[in-house]
Symmetry: C2
C-alpha cells in the first residue's frame, strides 16, 4: 500500500511539475478536485484548471506521505504534505493534498483530490 | 454535505480541546488513525494515543475545510487545515487533517483519520 502511494505521488508531482496536461489519464469523468476551495468534476474541467494555474515554473517538494485503505478496502486515501516552489520566488508555500485512489484494471485513478495551501 | 463537514469538525475539535477521551464515540473497531506517521486501529488504541499526547492545553484554530463524497457516494472525505496552539507556546503549529466519515444509523463515524503537522 505504501509502495502504491509512493509511486503514485512520485509520478503525479513529476508530471505536474513538467507537463500538467499529462495528468489527464489519472482522472475519470467522476473524479472530483477541490483546489483552494474551487470545486471541479471530470477530466476536462480538472486538467483545464490545473493547466491554467498562473505560474510558469513549479516544483513540489514532498515532506510526508501517509496512506490507509478506504471505501470497500480496495481504495486508498493518501495525504501528502510538502512545499511548493513557484516561479522564482524564494519563499516555499506549504501545501497539503489528499487523494482517494480507486482501483481500475490493475492500476488506480484519482477519485477525490483536495488541495490546500497551508499558510503560516 | 458542507453542513455535515462543518458540524462534524466543530464537534471534533471542541471535544479534542476540552476532553480528548470524549472522542471515543466517533470511532469504531475498524477505524484507522495515522498520527504523525504512527498507525493505529480501533477505538481503544486511537483514544489512548490522542489522550496521551504530551500537552496540557491545546486549541485548534480551523482555517479551511473542504469535503467531497467518496466511497459508494454515502461517505465523505473532509480535509481541514489550520493552526494548533499548544500549552503556552506563542508559536502556532500548522496542521492538516483528513477524515473519511462513513454513514451509520443517520449519523457518521470516523473510518479514516490522518493527521500531520505542516512545518514551514
Amino acid at each position: 500500500m505504501e509502495a502504491i502511494a509512493q509511486s503514485f505521488t512520485d509520478y503525479y508531482y513529476t508530471t505536474f511539475d513538467s507537463n500538467r496536461a499529462g495528468l489527464a489519464p489519472l482522472y475519470r469523468a467522476n473524479s472530483m478536485l477541490t483546489f483552494e476551495g474551487t470545486q471541479l468534476q471530470g477530466v476536462e474541467a480538472i486538467v483545464e484548471k490545473l493547466s491554467s494555474l498562473p505560474f510558469q515554473k513549479v516544483e513540489h517538494k514532498v515532506s510526508t506521505r501517509d496512506c490507509q485503505p478506504t471505501g470497500d478496502g480496495n481504495s486508498l486515501v493518501v495525504i501528502v504534505t510538502g512545499a511548493l516552489m513557484v516561479d522564482d520566488s524564494p519563499a516555499p508555500l506549504n501545501f497539503s493534498q489528499t487523494f482517494v485512489l480507486n482501483p481500475e484494471g490493475g492500476s488506480y485513478y484519482v477519485f477525490n483530490d483536495l488541495f490546500r495551501l497551508n499558510y503560516g
